[in-house]
């Protein structure tokens, strides 16, 4: 009996152990290591012990590095633009199509496809479509008698080009999540509004959107975090160019490590990116907690009122 008891007490640890070990060895340790490495002057041919400790020099270099500041700005701009566009289009479409239409599940299935395909492949197909001579966009424009657009070779157009590819790939994510949220809204509120004679617009702005707000904010945060991670699509499309016009921070980290072999500096950049994302995640978590607390308080108030 006592052996069985002991086994039972050990069970949770046995079940946790494999995942805990893997996560420690291959995720936590590398992240701590990176924080340490960001204080080193380190090239890939060196072991980490041989690298010189340089304190905050990598960070100081980053601050002075106009190229890094530029790519930081590009990242913010890219994330803000794509998330805004995707939220507007995604939620808008969900509001429009939130009704009993045949073939909705087929549409949703087709909508998932762009998210499931490898980012590398998404980059490839958009690069083909943007191609100055063989691409479908410029061919169509030319057949209509317009000039071709220098999609990937002009620094303004290239930003538009990467934004379009990202919107194509990720708007469905927001559409599907907000549609799911909309369909789980309490029917009673909508029916009450209908009885009171609310118009379609009033229902959207005064009932649907406010009730969906918590889910919408979580969706927005998830998408924002992901927008900072985008790398492969942009790498295949423009590799950050022309100039630095599309070089987001993730891509800059990759190039700093791969092409310029400055591991310490790449680690410092990674750290900066990580801190931004950490702030976003904590913000999202706090918001969730606040919502939960509010729901609990409302429930308590409601039950008190009933008594």
């Amino acid at each position: 009996m006592s052996i069985a008891n002991k086994a039972n007490r050990l069970t949770p640890y046995v079940f946790m152990a494999p995942a805990a070990i893997i996560l420690t060895v291959a995720l936590l340790y590398p992240i701590c290591y990176m924080i340490y490495a960001s204080f080193l002057d380190w090239s890939p041919s060196q072991r980490i012990g041989e690298a010189d400790f340089v304190g905050l020099r990598n960070y100081a270099n980053l601050l002075q590095d106009a190229a890094f500041r530029e790519s930081f700005w590009v990242t913010i701009k890219f994330a803000a633009v794509v998330v805004t566009l995707e939220m507007i289009i995604g939620v808008g479409l969900a509001l429009l199509l939130d009704r009993n239409i045949k073939g909705m599940s087929t549409l949703r299935t087709i909508f998932i496809l762009p998210m499931m395909i490898a980012p590398i492949v998404v980059g490839l197909m958009w690069r083909y479509m943007y191609h100055p001579t063989v691409g479908i966009f410029n061919r169509t424009l030319k057949s209509w008698g317009f000039e071709g657009i220098p999609w990937l070779s002009d620094s303004n157009w290239s930003f538009v080009a990467v934004v379009m590819a990202d919107v194509w790939q990720w708007t469905p994510f927001i559409f599907i999540l907000s549609l799911a949220a909309m369909q789980s809204l309490p029917r009673s509120a909508l029916e009450a509004a209908e009885i009171d004679g609310a118009t379609e617009m009033q229902k959207i702005f005064f009932i649907k959107l406010p009730l969906m707000l918590p889910v919408l904010i979580v969706t927005l945060m998830l998408r924002l975090i992901d927008a900072f991670k985008v790398l492969e699509v942009i790498m295949v499309l423009t590799n950050g160019g022309p100039g630095l016009s599309t070089e987001i921070v993730a891509l800059r980290i990759f190039r700093t490590a791969q092409e310029f072999q400055e591991l310490g500096e790449a680690a410092a950049m990674s750290n900066t990116l990580l801190m931004v994302l950490m702030a976003l995640t904590i913000g999202m978590f706090m918001y969730n907690k606040m919502q939960e607390n509010r729901a609990v308080r409302m429930k308590a108030a409601a039950s008190k009122g009933a008594v």
Binding site: Y29, L97, L107, A118, L124, L251, F254
Partner: protein, 290 residues
């Protein structure tokens, strides 16, 4: 609103058709181009979708694994055939490992509650936000100099497993919570030990959750480029890495590269059509139950 359900405005169907065309268009274009000769690609008089299709591009890509020797291939480059094998192996093994460890951990977290659920979802969320680009430098350094795993399958499978575990644990938790406790207690009465209860009682019930988690894990391991590029060598490279290496600045053979891309895209596309319901469940569970 319930009255007008049967007769919807045709505008909505128009809108849906437009949406389907927009989201499928690029994929169909890629598929079409993969059956096109390079001459036709560069010839502007040939339509994007209507032309004489050819299997030549696929034959070029797969020449190493085909049972016959394609007549038009002068030199057979074995890179892609090998990469395809590598990709399948890495993705399958890491998916299997992630699922096994993930569901065990999720079960322990839900049933034995030795850590608050708040803490767990906080940590998984934190881990989920770490971009692969941030892992690039440390993983490269550690795998090369400390673990000695650079260029090996073990090394890359270890990274992918670790990257996917937080998300899998998170998703599976929400499924395990719904397993009725009484079932497990009944099994315990019948003398089953915790391991048996887990594998014979709990796992069969959460199959839909496992399917969703498996697809998400497979997708990441199958599509990942960055870490694979940093860790793998010539013989162990996966498909995304070989694709990027074969893109040159000028004179791209679009037909061949689209065929390669199509081959990489086929497994996720198949999964989507087979299990779209599970994927949507997984996606909404991951976001809404944050």
């Amino acid at each position: 609103m319930s009255v007008q359900k049967e007769t919807q405005n045709p505008m909505f169907y128009m809108l849906m058709v437009v949406l389907v065309v927009m989201s499928l268009g690029p994929i169909v274009l890629m598929l079409a181009t993969s059956f096109k000769t390079n001459v036709d690609v560069y010839d502007s008089s040939v339509s994007a979708f209507f032309f004489a299709p050819t299997m030549a591009n696929y034959e070029t890509v797969l020449c190493d694994v085909l049972w016959y020797e394609p007549s038009h291939v002068e030199y057979c480059d074995p890179t892609f055939g090998r990469a395809l094998g590598n990709s399948i192996y890495v993705a399958l093994v890491s998916t299997g490992l992630t699922l096994l460890m993930g569901c065990m951990a999720a079960y322990a977290l839900v049933r034995f509650r030795f850590m608050g659920r708040g803490t767990v979802s906080m940590t998984t969320l934190m881990m989920r936000m770490v971009p692969p680009a941030v892992l690039l430098v440390p993983v490269f350094g550690i795998w090369t100099f400390q673990y000695g795993l650079d260029g090996t399958f073990t090394g890359i499978i270890l990274v992918y497993t670790a990257m996917n575990l937080p998300f899998v644990i998170w998703i599976l938790q929400s499924f395990i919570v719904q397993v009725p406790m009484q079932l497990e207690e009944a099994a315990r009465m019948d003398g089953a030990n915790p391991i048996q209860i887990f594998f014979l009682v709990v796992l069969p019930i959460i199959k839909p959750g496992l399917a969703a988690a498996a697809i998400f894990t497979f997708r990441i391991a199958w599509n990942e480029f960055l870490l694979g590029n940093a860790l793998l060598d010539r013989n162990t490279r996966t498909v995304p890495v070989t694709i990027v290496n074969s893109i040159t600045e000028y004179d791209i053979n679009w037909g061949v590269i689209m065929a390669t891309g199509m081959l990489l895209a086929i497994p996720p596309i198949l999964f989507t059509f087979v299990a779209s319901k599970q994927i949507i469940t997984g996606m909404t569970a991951g976001a809404v139950k944050g």
